[in-house]
Symmetry: C2
Subunit: 333 residues, 2 copies
């Protein structure tokens, strides 16, 4: 590995620059023995016993507007997004730490935000382990650290030609809510719920991994199109996504009257926090019914893995380069 394998985008270009490849200190290629998985996956993993670590920042005005959410939802959503990174390596949550930066005049919101963090953590059987707090002028910041056990972490880099590509759940609902708010409207209840109180697929990930159904795994935080790019880059494969198979959340249709836009929201909207994984041939088909019985969450095959590189989209009978990329939290939306 000579560079962190991520997809395209200004944010990821910048992140690659943070991890120089030819310095002995801090370089990805020179990890001490205590580091099993360094930068470039959903979590870092330290120690032989497998402690998974990740951090996920939520910034007012970028990831959410305070008018959209209750304070508890701001905290819940920030923690759920971070916990989803544990799901993305099939780790069992232990705890969270939270850094909160908030304007002095909003101090009364802090305990409510933290109530939401604790609720999300409790839902994942994690505890609040600590954190830090500061005042800030302007945008509120909730930065959530997650720590979990990952004895056998499942990374982005295991996809092989011949595998198929699967997603849990339905996509685009959170993006539909954002779209409604940004247009000055009110999202449908289902769309609002998907944005405000997302469910990290932790139990689902562990269930699938323990049944041998997962060669490579990522969570859908930046949109399916962008996250599949990371999978392709990390695994050194080409991935073809089948447009007609993408499970678009029904609420998306209620927010648009245009199927192309529905598809775009489902592929690029981000904040779905569903799982996307590459599975060995036939592996998911054998267990799909049991999965749906257990979790009441759909499992959908959305593509195929091939030799090569990059991400393609099969639509209307032809295969072209994926026209969409990651939802970029670094640029104005």
């Amino acid at each position: 590995m000579t560079q962190i394998p991520l997809g395209r985008g200004a944010e990821f270009d910048l992140i690659r620059r943070f991890y120089p490849v030819d310095r002995s200190a801090g370089a990805v290629v020179h990890q001490p023995a205590t580091v099993r998985v360094g930068a470039g996956d959903d979590c870092a993993v330290v120690r032989g016993e497998g402690i998974a670590l990740s951090v996920d920042i939520s910034v007012e005005g970028v990831h959410f507007q305070r008018e959209w959410l209750q304070p508890e939802e701001i905290g819940y959503r920030a923690a759920a997004a971070a916990l989803s990174d544990l799901a993305a390596v099939a780790a069992t949550p232990i705890g969270v730490l939270v850094s909160l930066a908030i304007d002095e005049s909003d101090l009364d919101l802090a305990p409510r935000i933290m109530d939401g963090v604790r609720a999300a953590a409790a839902g994942a059987r994690a505890v609040l382990l600590g954190g830090d707090m500061s005042r800030i002028s302007g945008s509120m910041v909730v930065d959530v650290v997650v720590v979990g056990n990952a004895l056998h972490p499942v990374l982005r880099r295991g996809a092989r030609p011949g595998d198929s590509l699967w997603v849990t759940g339905e996509l685009g609902a959170a993006a539909a809510a954002v779209r409604a708010w940004q247009a000055g409207g009110t999202p449908e209840a289902a769309a609002r719920l998907a944005f405000a109180l997302p469910t990290p697929r932790i139990a689902e990930a562990i269930w699938l991994v323990t049944r041998g159904a997962v060669d490579a795994l990522i969570d859908i935080s930046d949109g399916l199109a962008g996250d599949v790019e990371h999978l392709a880059a990390a695994s050194g494969v080409r991935i073809i996504v089948d447009a007609a198979s993408v499970p678009i959340h029904p609420t998306v249709h209620a927010h648009t009257s245009n199927h192309d836009l529905d598809l775009r929201l489902a592929l690029t909207g981000g904040e779905d926090y569903e799982l996307c994984f590459a599975a060995p041939p036939g592996a998911v088909e054998r267990i799909a019914d049991a999965f749906v019985d257990t979790f009441d969450v759909p499992l959908t095959c959305v593509g195929t893995i091939h030799a090569g590189a990059g991400v393609m989209l099969r639509a209307n009978g032809s295969v072209t380069e994926m026209p969409y990329s990651a939802h970029d939290h670094f640029r104005a939306s």
Copy 2:
């Protein structure tokens, strides 16, 4: 333990509210077996093997002004402050994760900030394990997560009556630099260095602990007066600080012409990142020369531990309640 034992102050009052005592989920009093040390100390510690975790947020306009520092120093300082929390439990660093929120127009600063983070991490033999990034409107935020090995973490709660209170290094230099900048002046080089590139006392902490010299340990991040309050609260003891013994950094005198102000800066300035610890009777005296020979850092006895509660100051022959408390990053300075 019915409440997180912290000292006085609005920030700590708020933090106590984040950890309700009578709920089963997330409560400090109901920790799962994987959590050895929860909230309320310098780091959380998970797993029997002892993984120490902490997070430390640096906010522009609160912890620093960008005019004071080079971008590399912003990153170095943020990481050193976080690494100091590992020193404060005598943990050996493994790695850091960094969340960076930065205005789009400052994007070019991001790699330089991260160069500083990596330099501080390398100095502590830690690697950059990951992180997150977002744009933000307004204040820059650098939030640093640290992870280390802490097989035998030394906490805030071990101080006993009869112990003596010690600090490493000299105090007040970083506060003197801030004072000079805030007055529109330029700090002395030594003061600027103390603020911009603090040295976490990691090797020093492990050295002292392995020689049985430490019953309770904290790093001085909020100022000696405030941090000693945390030690007293966590250990359930009274601590008397001897004003005449406090090692005031020589650069402090160059910034003020008033000994009372010097003492106040040394007791309340914060950002020293020296160690403060309670030692069994005679323990430090036996090893002090070897410590100074090894690290070229002073070790000073600054007080005594007694039965009771709270922090007192011995000055001019009388003992009164400590007139100073923690440097509060939650209020305007």
